[in-house]
Amino acid sequence: MSSRSENFRRVLGRVIQQDFVGRATELNRIIAQAESAKAGRGLLLLMEPSAGVSELLRQAYDQIFNRRSDVIPIYFAFTRNETTAVSAAIEFLNTFLQQYIAYRRDEPVVSEAPLTLHDLVELAPAPDLEWIEQLVESYNRLRFSNDDKTLVRFCLGAPQRIPAVRGRPFVMLDGSQLAEYLNGAVVLGTEILRVFARGGFSFVLAGLRRQILEAAHDANCNFELLDLLRLEQLEATEAGKLVEHVARRQQVATSEAARDLIVQQFAGSPFFINTYLLAAREKHATLLSYLDCERLYVDELFGGHIHRHFADLLEEISPRLDTRHLLIRLLWEAAAGEEQISSFEIWRKRLHISAPELEDLLHRLHVQEFVNWDETTVEAGSGPQAWKDYLKIRYRLDVLGEPRALVVADMLADSLKRAPHTMARHYKQIANAGLRELISRFNCQQVPAVLFDYAKFSEKYKGAEAETIVSGLGAETEAFKLPQTIHLATCSAFISDMRQICEEEHCLVAHTFEGATYSDAQEVIWLAADVESKLEVDVAVARAWCDRFESLAERLGFSRYQIWLISNQGFTEEASTLLARRKALGSSRQQLELLASRVRETVHSAVVETSGPDEFMMVVPMGEDNELIAANTAEQIAKRLTFRPEAINQIKTAIVEACINASEHSFSPDRKIYQRFRVESDRLVITISSRGIVPPNLNGAKSGAEVQEASEERRGWGLKLIRTLMDEVEFERVDDGTSLRMTKYLRPQKGTSANE
């Protein structure tokens, strides 16, 4: 361990630095917000419910504290213990002073000691005594003024009073505990943002994403001065590490299988994982088998920390017991799949409450993401699995009045039965992530067409060695240009009936545009299914899938669509004929993998392209014959590649024409031409880009007649010349402006080894 780590002092963090896993990127981002470059900017940390934020902020606090720079870290968490905005604001003032003094005195222990304002004045370092005394005096005067709003603003604005020479405050507010619902006339969340956004100091405000964004809008925040960071659940690998670390810390024995189940059952939620493992330690439980895990889980739902978490939330959302029971019924019925979408009026009737009461209740449910409410309709049935299980238990116990022992036994049995399915779904998701990832990467790449035609592929390559296939594919002349995927979702996200037919991730709908041209004519919906079959898929199954997709396309109003079926072993001859007749594509697993490697290569090379060592970039202003600068640069580069003089002149002319096109047609806002020259062993690739609008006849997709018309206009000659002078010319679609890529190959001359 380095000496730096040895000197690191834990101040507010609940775990040591090394045990804090899974949020490295977010931690660095928060700390970066404290840097002077971000001075005066706020960071809204938008948290998915139960994603956990408190330890992240405490860790950030500790890191900044240990740096001993001019940045003074302040961390304050609103808790449910505070009953009013005034009491929360006073608590903030107290915490602020305490942490300021702890930092100034370099005494971590001061930050959490039970100290009064009087104690803090006594502890204030001499250079700070005057302003702290003034602050406390002003506070004492305002405290009894009966002007709550002024008092709240005064307390929250306290960090502004730090003299500039004494450092810059960096305030981190942990609002994950619903500060918005404190009683009283002052809406705290909005007030915080009003004061902080105008305070001139950097801050982080963390809380539930729906709540924080709403508060920012209500406070009329200037979003140009706010940065956003989204905090979601951990992905499986990181969540697995978290389980291992926490279990080790809590001295809970776990197995790999149990670890993975915990991760899946809590969907990677740091809050639930920590809470659950804490319960395991308290109960001296080992978590080695599924039974161990589910026993503890059910215990937690019936009377543990998880139970208390949901019970508190429900009580906050619906304080009246009778309404709460009705609400549990409504929510459970939705979670069980009945009436997931209903109107506001139906909810009001079923809960027997007034419209304003229901609005308040729905707002709270919406913030917690237990429902989606858009003022008129309510979509229930969402929330984590633990929430749904909790609702089921409450429903059976409170609404149906069933015996507790029966409900416990059923819940344990159900959880155990569900566990292998949970894991199976996870494993299938991993296996199918390939298809999802592949389609999401479609971005106008050219691939051998044979990869989408199982019959042809089988005829050419069945039984061939991998190397033979790869070299064969490299020599394929018939290419298939992939579209650009702009949206990808499972079929069941569009039509829930599809869940009964196949696993969610097996059946995908991708909205794409051919050639990345965003027009009706180029929009194509890809309907892809990974058909489970140990043998070649037969004609009946292929037909059923084609029919299913055609019907789906009709129901959803997809006018242009492309069916693509994938099967492990491909398709029988009859099935392939049917697919061809129905203009559907068919690939085996092998073809899919070959396609994936080609698409990955393209993505990879695109990354290399921007950072490659043999690449030159140049930006020149439009006009003033600046195209000559570009042409002369290209000449120097081309000479290094030993292009012959004639070819160099052709390249120069093509560049000049491309620059003229960019200048004349782009309506460019910055009047700049961006040039990239990439040197490869056998070619020079030049990309000329400009921002702005490009007339449709320059996008490279014009018809033959249009080309003819254009060439008749003398000013339309540029593109014609470029196409003649260069070996490959392609317009790359970019969102703003155009990008023309031109390639010139080195060709050996007769009697010479290279291109002279």
Binding site: T653, I660, R714, W717
Partner: protein
């Protein structure tokens, strides 16, 4: 003797033939200067034009379109036009854009003048 006209275009007359020199880069600006000079020479009574490209290394499509305009103007004035000392790359561009269908190319200024004198000798003068 060379005559500097409006811009920096060099030109001189040999009898009723004007020789106009194109610069190293033929683009919109330099093309328009040549056009201006050719029009001026035609107005002054020249019956033939030679545009000399001996200095020209690079030509763009706008420059070529202006040359076509000059050919049009010359035709309408009943004047002959010859391009001299055009390098191979530029000839290639002229061919691509069909310019060589409308103009005679000569190896150098001398050959251009000979070419024009032959033409004048074989063309009857109409009074």
């Amino acid at each position: 003797m060379d005559t500097p006209s409006g811009g920096l275009v060099r030109s001189h007359c040999v009898g009723t033939t004007a020789v106009v020199y194109a610069s190293d880069y033929l683009n919109k600006l330099t093309g328009e200067k040549i056009e201006h000079e050719c029009r001026r020479q035609l107005k002054c009574g020249c019956r033939a034009l030679i545009i000399d490209f001996s200095d020209t290394k690079l030509v763009n499509s706008i420059g070529i379109s202006i040359l076509l305009g000059i050919i049009d103007v010359a035709e309408k004035s009943g004047a002959r036009i010859v391009f001299s000392e055009v390098n191979n790359q530029t000839v290639q561009l002229f061919e691509m854009l069909g310019l060589t269908r409308h103009v005679v190319l000569a190896k150098d200024e001398r050959e251009a003048l000979i070419n024009l004198s032959r033409f004048e000798a074989t063309t009857p003068v109409v009074h």
